[in-house]
C-alpha cells in the first residue's frame, strides 16, 4: 500500500471533485484495486452525443 501524501495537483483535483459532488452530485471515481482517488466521472455534453447521432453514416 502507498501512503504518500497527495501532491498539489492531486490535492486540487480532489477538492474540486468533492465540491462537484457536494454541488451537483457528480460521482467520484475510486480505483477498485487500491481505493485511491481516480478523478470524477466524465460527463458527456448533449452536443457531443447529438452531433454524433446526427452524423451516423448510412450502413450497408
Amino acid at each position: 500500500m502507498d501512503f504518500r501524501p497527495l501532491n498539489d495537483t492531486e490535492r486540487r483535483q480532489l477538492i474540486t471533485a468533492l465540491r462537484g459532488n457536494a454541488d451537483t452530485g457528480s460521482a467520484l471515481l475510486m480505483d477498485r484495486r487500491d481505493t485511491s482517488f481516480l478523478g470524477i466521472a466524465e460527463e458527456v455534453t448533449d452536443e457531443e452525443v447529438i452531433n454524433a447521432i446526427k452524423s451516423v453514416p448510412c450502413h450497408y
Partner: protein, 312 residues
C-alpha cells in the same frame, strides 16, 4: 475507503464539503484517457431487446429491409458497457442493402435517457445484414472510419445482426459460438470495434452483464418522438432546463415536457399524445389547463411564455 478517505481527512483546509456531504464512491474504472476497446459488455435487457426487435422486424411488412439501433452506454478505459438501444424508427430510410436511421427522434431520445446519467455516451451502431455476412461491409467501413473520431476514445462498437440460421438452435437461450458473437434461435449478432485511423474492424469479445435497457420505456412514445422530434430538439436547445417525462401509466402513452418558470414552483407542462398537444400551467401545487390549440409544442410554449410575460 482506504486512501481516499485518508486523503479527505487530510484536507483540513476544506472541512465543510467533506463533513456535510460524504462523497459518493463508485467502483468505476473510467478515466479521461482511453485505450483501444478490448471488450463490450451488454446489459442483458439490451441483448434481449436487440433479439426481440430483430425477430419482430423480420415478421413485419418491412422485414426484408435492413434495420438497426444506436447504442448508448458508458465508455470505460478498455471496455464499453451498452446500456440503451435507440431504434432506427419508422421513418428510417432502408432497403435490402442499406439503412439510414431517423436521427431526429434518436437525438431527442438521447436527451431523455441522459437526463438520469450524463455520463452516457454514444458507443456505436448495430445493424442487420441479409444473408450470412457477419462482418461490416466495405461500404460500412467507408462511412464508419470517418465517423468514429467523434466517439469517446475515437473507438466505436459495431454489431452486425444476421438471420441465416447457420448457428440456429431450437431453444431461446443466448449462446456464444465465438467470443464476439451471441446467438438466439436463428438470429446472431457479431461484434466489432473500429478505431480512428485503423485499417479494418477488429473482432470485439462480448459479454452479457445484468442490467436494463434504459431506453426501453421510450418505445411506447417513439411515434410521438418521431412526429415532434425537430421541434422538441429545438426547444431543448433553446431552453436549457427543459425536462422530459415518459407517461405510460394510462391507456395511451404520452410524452410530457416541463419548462420551469422564473417563479419558484411554477412551470409550463406540455403533454403530447398521438392525437393532440395539451398545455398546462403548474402553479402552487395545482395544474391549470391552458386554453390553447397549438399542434407545435415549441410554438405553444413560446405563446404561453409571451402571455405570462404580459401578465407579469
Amino acid at each position: 475507503m482506504g486512501k481516499l478517505q485518508r486523503a479527505v481527512t487530510d484536507l483540513r483546509g476544506e472541512p465543510k464539503v467533506v463533513r456535510q456531504t460524504p462523497p459518493i464512491l463508485t467502483d468505476a474504472g473510467a478515466r479521461a484517457s482511453y485505450s483501444p476497446l478490448q471488450r463490450v459488455r451488454i446489459a442483458d435487457e439490451v441483448a434481449r431487446v436487440l433479439f426481440d426487435e430483430y425477430g419482430a422486424h423480420r415478421k413485419s411488412e418491412r422485414g426484408e429491409e435492413e434495420t438497426g439501433w444506436l447504442l448508448l452506454g458508458l465508455r470505460d478505459t478498455k471496455e464499453a458497457i451498452a446500456l440503451a438501444t435507440l431504434p432506427a424508427g419508422a421513418e428510417r430510410e432502408a432497403g435490402e442493402a442499406h439503412i439510414r436511421f431517423n436521427s431526429g427522434a434518436q437525438a431527442v431520445a438521447s436527451r431523455i435517457v441522459r437526463q438520469a446519467d450524463r455520463r452516457l455516451a454514444l458507443l456505436g451502431v448495430v445493424h442487420t445484414h441479409p444473408g450470412s455476412l457477419r462482418h461490416p461491409s466495405d461500404g460500412d467501413f467507408r462511412g464508419d472510419i470517418s465517423w468514429v473520431g467523434q466517439l469517446r476514445g475515437g473507438d466505436g462498437v459495431f454489431g452486425i445482426g444476421t438471420a441465416d440460421g447457420k448457428y440456429a438452435r431450437p431453444s431461446d437461450e443466448l449462446w456464444q459460438p465465438r467470443a464476439n458473437m451471441f446467438c438466439r434461435g436463428d438470429l446472431c449478432y457479431s461484434w466489432y470495434s473500429l478505431r480512428e485511423s485503423a485499417r479494418s474492424y477488429q473482432a470485439l469479445p462480448a459479454e452479457i452483464a445484468p442490467g436494463s435497457d434504459l431506453a426501453l420505456p421510450l418505445r411506447a412514445v417513439w411515434p410521438i418522438l418521431e412526429e415532434h422530434a425537430e421541434r422538441l430538439d429545438r426547444l431543448a436547445r433553446q431552453q436549457a432546463k427543459v425536462e422530459f417525462e415518459c407517461l405510460t401509466g394510462s391507456e395511451h402513452a404520452a410524452l410530457a415536457l416541463m419548462v420551469p418558470l422564473a417563479d419558484e414552483g411554477r412551470s409550463l407542462r406540455v403533454v403530447l399524445t398521438g392525437k393532440e398537444v395539451r398545455y398546462f400551467l403548474a402553479r402552487e401545487g395545482s395544474l391549470l389547463a391552458a386554453d390553447l390549440s397549438e399542434p407545435h409544442a415549441d410554438r405553444g410554449v413560446y405563446r404561453l411564455l409571451a402571455e405570462l410575460a404580459g401578465e407579469a
